[in-house]
């Protein structure tokens, strides 16, 4: 198996529609691979965990492909997108809709996720606004390198009904009924709730920021343990 010097591997989760994420990275980089091969993923410069659908179905697919332990062992930058971000947390209250045989059980118990970022996914409380939260909304980014050059109040495209609450792992916020994490991160793992691949130039800039990262990016001792959020610090 060839080890690419600067490869971005999108994990083939098996149930998600990967095309849009792949096309977006291909517009920015020549070295983009979609794979579920353990060696290819392990050898990547950086890894993308995409996801559309439900947490239950997506985790079942990762388990089937025996990818859970592998993803947990990665030390290169890993970017989760939308459901991919949610899967990075410890658990999600979203039930696996395709798991119809087990629906009542699934409804009662939260879905176990990858546990890469110590927070949990819960229902988005839109305060009566239409759900899913769908469309272009503004984010308040932190100083995290994923948001280099991204101005306050930039518009990103969101589609979701569940959210990561604000926590020490929040690296960008958004508001829809309540303020929630537009992005979260811990060490080399980062996840975005919005779809950068569908967010025009701003999204493309965020993907470019990710493409500039490698294993070294998060292996240097950092002066700060959490990324400063401008809006919160001003308030």
């Amino acid at each position: 198996m060839s080890q690419h010097a600067n490869s971005t591997v999108i994990i083939d989760t098996g149930c998600a529609n990967l095309s849009s994420v792949r096309y977006a990275f291909e517009r920015l980089s020549k070295d983009v691979v979609v794979s579920d091969d353990h060696r290819v993923i392990k050898g990547a410069t950086r890894v993308v965990l995409p996801g559309v659908g439900t947490a239950g179905a997506a985790m079942a697919s990762l388990n089937n492909k025996q990818l859970v332990a592998l993803i947990q062992s990665l030390d290169q930058p890993v970017l989760g997108i939308c459901l991919g971000m949610q899967m990075m947390t410890e658990k999600s209250t979203e039930r696996g809709e395709r798991d119809s045989s087990d629906r009542t059980v699934a409804e009662k118990s939260a879905c176990e996720c990858l546990g890469l970022i110590p927070t949990s996914i819960t229902d988005l409380d839109s305060q009566g606004l239409p759900l899913p939260h769908m469309g272009w909304n503004q984010i308040s980014p932190s100083s995290h390198p994923l948001f280099n050059g991204i101005p306050e109040d930039s518009y990103l495209y969101f589609v979701h009904s569940y959210k990561a609450p604000l926590s020490e792992f929040t690296i960008a916020t958004c508001e829809y009924g309540e303020r929630f994490s537009a992005a979260i991160a811990k060490d080399n793992f980062m996840g975005v709730q919005f779809h950068p691949e569908k967010s025009a130039e701003v999204g493309s800039r965020i993907l470019s920021n990710f493409l500039a990262m490698n294993t070294q990016t998060f292996n240097q001792p950092l002066n700060q343990t959490s990324w400063q959020l401008d809006r919160e610090s001003r308030a």
Binding site: Y23, E97, L129, P130, W136, V159, E175, A200, S204
Partner: protein, 257 residues
């Protein structure tokens, strides 16, 4: 703040845009990708491709144009027309469509909505509803097979009932196309859209009747829809999307810029 969306709708037949589209300086006819790119560049928040090839005929059609759009366009887009099975939906989504819109097939078999939702998640399931004001009964009713004038027929559904039904079955968004207004450019049907908005817990897209920039302002302000879809005013260059968005911002409507 969540922005109100401006959504141009393009009619596609055999992989080509059917009607010519007039931009400021020149006209583009035919090729989907440059047209879609142009609208994206001008600030369209989302695109809808209405595949009229599919709706009237039952043959196998090349859908690779969806992939070409997805490869090059970095805003969300929805494919409508001729989707009546899980497999047909899967094909569009696999090619890179973000959403699929179902209209007549959902009326024929409402369980299709649940099956699509179970398979793909509600976020990508849009239900299109062709609604008209029936003067005889003083009510709003749903029409089916509007893609083909000869096949168009009334259904037994009152619009409000159908709006609730499709939400219960798991759609993620509703496009309400008000037929009395369609193409006349007299403005969106604010009264009907307001009634439906009250019943609609998912995002609601207004369609039919846009003629002026003020019509967009009204439909966002009064009917409180999440998005406004239009075709001819954009294609014929009557309204420029950039100008429209500048105008709406000046009217204090939340708009992406």
């Amino acid at each position: 703040m969540l922005a109100k969306r401006i959504v141009p709708c393009l009619d596609v037949k055999d992989g080509k845009v059917v009607k010519g589209v007039q931009f400021k300086n020149h006209q583009i006819v035919g090729d989907i990708v440059p047209l879609a790119a142009r609208y994206a560049e001008e600030g369209a928040d989302e695109l809808v491709f209405y595949d009229i090839t599919a709706s009237a005929h039952n043959r196998v059609i090349d859908k690779s144009w969806i992939r070409r759009v997805a490869e090059q366009i970095d805003i969300p887009f929805c494919v409508a027309g001729g989707i009546s099975s899980i497999e047909q939906a899967r094909e569009k989504l696999a090619f890179g469509a973000d959403k699929i819109s179902i209209n007549s097939p959902a009326l024929t078999d409402p369980s299709l909505i649940e099956r699509l939702q179970d398979e793909f998640g509600r976020q990508c399931i849009v239900i299109g509803i062709d609604s008209y004001y029936d003067a005889a009964s003083d009510s709003y009713k749903v029409k089916q097979f509007t893609g083909d004038a000869a096949a168009t027929r009334d259904t037994q559904w009152f619009t409000q009932d159908w709006v609730q039904e499709v939400q219960q079955r798991g759609c993620g968004e509703i496009v309400l196309n008000v037929m009395n207004q369609d193409g006349v450019r007299q403005g969106y049907d604010l009264k009907q859209l307001s009634i439906v908005r009250e019943l609609c817990d998912v995002p609601l897209i207004a369609s039919g009747g846009a003629g002026t920039m003020a019509h967009f302002k009204d439909v966002f302000e009064i009917a409180k829809v999440d998005a406004a879809l239009a075709a001819s005013v954009f294609h014929q260059g009557i309204i420029d999307i950039q100008e429209l968005k500048r105008y709406l911002r000046s009217q204090h409507i939340a708009i992406r810029y």
